[in-house]
């Protein structure tokens, strides 16, 4: 569904993403993990059209989308959430989602259809009871849900979820992870899920891609991932230095 080949993104002389390639299969949940600063969010922002790629190709359903403006990528069927929620604070919760439902898909629905779709999505994420309130009533978990609702209202085929668990407590994390699983089951939406903590994510994802310092260091099943010496090293640091010799192709 999504095929990333040799993707690089430089900011001046800083190489945020270096020659990364991976594919996302239709219908899967792919976990994209790595420590802070490993380039996960940068890859997201390049795929979603916020940044232009420095090199490489991004094929979505066979069409090259690298460098297209963000609104066009949205119309092609890629929805995204932001790591730090970006609600429209002057609009009500419902209006936030109505805007996404109306502008997000092409061709555009009517105003009435957009409103209906927004209400539907709000009830899916569990915000229907506060639909007409201002976004001030939402806490961290509520803002994450609104972020997800906006992305879903654009009717994506592929959802890019940027740290949907960030800032949530243990119980909220489980709920959010269940919600992502339900979105895949019930709406058939393929998901790429970025997170820097592994915990809950590992129980839900089908495959994992691990990044470190802008490079891909692992791709495979969650079970194999936690066994991989390079992955454990980048997460646990050089305390596991003894294992380092067993990895001749260390990336740094």
């Amino acid at each position: 569904m999504l095929k990333i080949t040799g993707l690089s993104k430089h900011f001046g002389s800083f190489v945020a993403v270096n020659q990364v390639s991976f594919e996302v299969e239709q219908g899967e949940i792919l976990g994209l993990i790595g420590p802070n600063g490993s380039g996960k969010s940068t890859i997201f922002n390049v795929v979603a059209g916020l940044y232009k790629p420095t090199a490489g190709s991004i094929l979505f359903q066979g069409k090259e989308i690298g460098g297209l403006p963000a609104h066009q990528i949205c119309h092609l069927g890629i929805g995204r959430t932001f790591q730090i929620p970006r609600p429209f604070s002057k609009l009500s919760i419902l209006e936030n989602v109505v805007a996404a439902a109306f502008f997000g898909s092409s061709p555009r629905p009517g105003a009435k259809a957009a409103r209906d779709r927004a209400l539907e999505v709000l009830s899916l994420v569990g915000l229907d009871s506060v639909a007409d309130d201002s976004i001030d009533v939402l806490g961290a978990a509520g803002l994450k849900k609104l972020e997800l609702a906006k992305a879903l209202a654009t009717q994506p085929k592929l959802l890019l979820a940027d740290e949907p668990l960030g800032g949530l407590d243990a119980e909220e994390m489980v709920q959010a992870a269940d919600l992502l699983a339900r979105i895949r089951e019930e709406m058939g939406i393929t998901i790429v899920w970025v997170e820097h903590i592994m915990g809950v994510l590992m129980r839900v994802v089908d495959r994992v891609v691990v990044l470190d310092h802008g490079e891909k260091i692992f791709e495979g099943s969650p079970a194999a991932c936690v066994q991989d010496p390079q992955v454990t090293e980048c997460y646990l640091g050089h305390a596991h230095g003894a294992r380092r010799e067993a990895v001749p192709t260390a990336s740094h």
């Binding site: 403006p69 963000a70 970006r86 997000g104 906006k150």
Partner: protein, 327 residues
């Protein structure tokens, strides 16, 4: 909808009463100007209320006023055609300035500065082309005495009033339509979170450009009617920075988040200018601008919703920044 009809009925009744009892010519003269400036300021708020602060709408007023008079005086093209041509010219300038600004995300004070420069360029161009425009001395449309309406001229103040009122009502209607539209939702969203707005599929540059073009057209038509009514146009009073700032003062003072605020603000600024003129004559020339400046500072700090906005929010116990009702 019901409130809008009630409002319209009220306007019709007041107009009928005013025309029947016969208002003094001077009062009529002020009313016409309040309505035209009110419409111009309302045109400015179409964009201004979303934090896109143009400090150059004087350019559109100037293009409207000069476009119509130049076409009439030099080419004999009737203002009935001149008005749409001038409005199109203003939209063309708005596009030339707005497209690169919005594509390159020139926002906030940078957009204000770009538009301010635009107004200065238009004003200086008018002054420089003095052979055609009369330079800083200004220009008078050739009078059409036999059938003034054919040349959109208003020797009769009552006729001028009806024209101004009609135009003003159309602008208010455009304003309420825009407020209730998805375009308004998209601009309110992108005013603070442009990336997030793009991410949900909003083509932010295009939505902004749409409203800028509409705003430029409204302002240009207002400028054209004002020139036709006053029968004298001058680069100081109908184009350039002073006019741009005057539009800003009136809109902010009246309340740019409400539908009637810009008109109320125009009424206040005109009342101020006129009373200073009557009280002090020419001894105190330029005082109005000083007072405007002081007013603007006070309003921005203490009453950012403007007079009408503050009254409404007190009455309704709300502080909506996107007023949706006609009031």
């Amino acid at each position: 909808m019901k409130r809008n009809l009630l409002f319209l009925l009220g306007v019709v009744v007041i107009t009928a009463v005013l025309l029947l009892i016969g208002v003094p010519v001077y009062t009529m003269h002020i009313l016409v100007q309040v309505l035209l400036w009110g419409a111009i300021c309302s045109g400015w708020t179409l964009l201004g209320r979303f934090g896109i602060t143009s400090m150059g709408h004087g350019a559109f007023v100037g293009i409207g006023a000069y476009g119509v008079v130049l076409l009439w005086n030099h080419l004999g093209i009737t203002p009935w055609l001149g008005v749409p041509i001038a409005a199109a010219a203003a939209m063309l300038l708005a596009f030339a300035v707005g497209y690169p600004c919005f594509k390159l995300r020139v926002v906030g004070r940078n957009f204000s500065l770009v538009t301010m420069a635009m107004a200065v360029v238009v004003q200086l161009t008018i002054i420089a082309a003095r052979d055609v425009t009369g330079g800083s001395l200004g220009l008078t449309p050739k009078a059409q005495t036999s059938a003034p309406l054919l040349a959109l001229q208003f020797p009769n103040k009552n006729v001028a009033f009806l024209f101004a009122l009609g135009f003003w009502l159309v602008v208010l209607w455009v304003m309420t339509r825009l407020n209730a539209s998805m375009t308004s939702l998209s601009l309110a969203a992108s005013a603070e979170q442009e990336d997030a707005a793009e991410a949900i599929g909003i083509n932010v540059a295009r939505e902004k450009l749409k409203v800028l073009l509409l705003s430029a057209a409204v302002t240009a038509v207002g400028g054209a009617l004002l020139g036709q009514y006053l029968m004298y146009i001058n680069p100081e009073t109908l184009s350039g920075s002073p006019v741009s700032l005057q539009i800003l003062y009136a809109s902010i003072a009246g309340g740019m988040y409400t539908v009637l605020g810009p008109t109320i603000g125009s009424g206040l600024t005109l009342a101020l200018t006129e009373s200073l003129r009557v009280l002090f004559g020419t001894r105190f020339i330029g005082a109005a601008n000083t007072i405007y400046g002081l007013m603007l500072i006070l309003f921005v700090i203490f009453m950012p919703q403007g007079i009408w906005g503050t009254i409404l929010s007190k009455l309704q116990g709300r502080t909506s920044r996107r007023a949706r009702s006609l009031l």
